[in-house]
Subunit: 340 residues, 2 copies
DNA sequence: CTGTTAGCGCATTCAA
DNA sequence: TTGAATGCGCTAACAG
């Protein structure tokens, strides 16, 4: 029964001293080693409780050479519901495996992404899930990170051989445009993303595929790229709707574009139909109907974590990088109607 | 110039061997110690680059006795935009101070909260921000965590003396109800939260205060508590609207209740006005007008992180726990109108 | 300016 | 069944 400096976090030695045993007995007891006699075990646990001792996982990890038990998660914008659900998915699967998640927000800045990945590698995370901000993925190559497992989410790797989880951007876009065509629309305006982004290219490709499959022409005048905010999308949509021969429907390639397009349609009183990629949660409360391409965002995170955990666990990693595609669903929102 | 086992993460010794210097020189170089000659520095850095060496922050922290550089963040539901913005706020301030954030999601389960806090304490995080799931906060007491700083967000501590950041639930509710009163409403239905929750109690209190200040009676028949999902809220709202002398307006105490109330009003074609606590982002696209109590959710996270970082930095902690209240704004959403 | 010794908190390996 | 030495990767504190 010895005392201890106040305010200091107790160590195993403190517990050992308190219980009048060797540190090893404390260590074994806490590890659940069966070779500890019940009396010793009880004495140690009493001291542990008395001192409110908590084993230092950092020091433990250092000695065992085992991992930190941390997964890194680097996203572009955590406040975007998409990424927060993705984060929740990752956290859930990590927790089941006794791991925690360290988050980093890049704000779309590649330099910051580089710096975050570097920092996490220094913290010896067991693996990293990244939603890449740009197209240069060189700093994400496990080869340059001593084999640290990396999984990309939302965008496929360029120049890297790493696992990846993406949404079926092509298929989702195609089905949305096909649905508009099925409703009789023959001139459909497209509010796209930057063509340099993989996601943007795929969604455009899906849109065009649906048109071609319907025997409709792909008119350049109806295809627009939009800066990534709803205001810009609204301006572009207004321009499309003001044309001599305006489109009778719009397809917006992401949620911000969809919101902008919706506003343009509402303001001008245009009868144009609207479809968009990404869900808009309370769209059934909107004044006008809208179709959206939805997908399970949490599933993206869960699958990414799954791939990462496999890489971490496997002695011999899979020979080739794996690509998981998350399917999409076309969802129609119709305004609520009163009984009258 | 010595070689190294492949696939292994290099250590300082590896770098030292590669550069043919002592580990201390490597350590000093990486620390930026000015007492290293330029030639040595260059030689070391060359080896560092050649081996793609990255200092092990865990071992470093162990030796320096310094902190892990991690902040714990325990929330009830990360997929809720409120908490993801809070998380973003915390992450931002942490990053500025060179720290990372470890997240944990409780799903509202107090046992899981306990376990997460315990785990994070074992990982030697420098402090924890918690959105408590329940009213029992005993396990969050720094006294039981060897002085580990704790800051509560959204809900004030019960039985603890810790810093806290809350939203002005009382003031926000009062202003929302006051606005309805100013519009001429004299019978206002209230869709509240559980009375046991602090947030719920405060929002009810604010509502009642506004009524009393206007000389209006607080009628029990108009006050309801709702289970925490939109469907239940809708049912309760329908019941209120179906009364003999129905309320001419509803005030819902959180976003889910607001959505339920909105649906009830839309379905019945009721002319009742609607106000609610918590923002509903795209409410200007809704068919009917709505007022909401908004607040800067990111600010909640930033202030919480601020308080926590102060506690971590200060040798002598503030004598008393501090309470920060984040103000609210009443925001009116009006449906978009076409030019016609 | 550079190297040596020692130890952070813990767990493996060996001895008793 | 328990304890003593040794070292994980890194850096204070001291030599030189």
């Amino acid at each position: 029964m010895s005392s201890m400096a106040p305010g200091r976090t107790p160590t195993m030695r403190d517990v050992a001293a308190h219980a009048a045993v060797s540190p090893m007995t404390v260590s074994r007891t806490l590890r659940g080693d069966p070779r500890v006699s019940p009396e010793m075990r009880a004495r140690v646990l009493a001291s542990v409780e008395a001192l409110r001792y908590r084993r230092n996982d950092l020091a433990r990890g250092l000695r065992t050479g085992r991992s930190s038990g941390l997964l890194g998660l680097v996203v572009t914008n955590l406040s975007n519901p998409f990424y927060s659900e993705l984060a929740l998915g990752v956290e859930g699967l990590a927790s089941v495996n006794g791991m925690r998640v360290v988050i980093g927000n890049t704000g779309g800045d590649v330099d910051r992404e580089r710096q975050l990945v570097d920092d996490m590698a220094s913290r010896r995370v067991d693996g990293i899930i990244v939603v890449p901000a740009g197209n240069d993925h060189a700093h994400l190559d496990p080869a340059g990170l001593h084999g640290l497992p990396v999984v990309l989410a939302t965008r496929p790797p360029t120049g890297l051989d790493v696992d990846c989880v993406v949404v079926d951007d092509f298929g989702g876009s195609r089905s949305a445009t096909a649905a508009l065509v099925a409703q009789g629309h023959r001139r459909i305006g497209f509010l796209g993303l930057g063509r340099s982004l993989w996601t943007g290219a795929e969604r455009l490709r899906g849109h065009c595929a649906a048109l071609e499959e319907a025997g409709l022409p792909v008119e350049d005048a109806l295809l627009r790229s939009v800066a990534p905010d709803a205001g810009a999308a609204e301006a572009v949509a207004l321009e499309l709707l003001a044309a001599d021969d305006p489109p009778t429907a719009l397809f917006a390639a992401n949620n911000r574009n969809t919101v902008g397009a919706y506003r343009a349609i509402a303001e001008t009183g245009s009868p144009a139909a609207l479809a968009g990629f990404d869900d808009l949660p309370l769209a059934d409360l909107f004044a006008a109907p809208i179709s959206v391409v939805t997908y399970d965002t949490g599933e993206v995170g869960r699958r990414a974590a799954e791939l990462l955990l496999e890489r971490i666990a496997d002695e011999e990693p899979p020979a080739h990088a794996r690509l998981v595609t998350i399917g999409t669903t076309l969802k129609r929102y119709r305004p609520l109607r009163g009984p009258g």
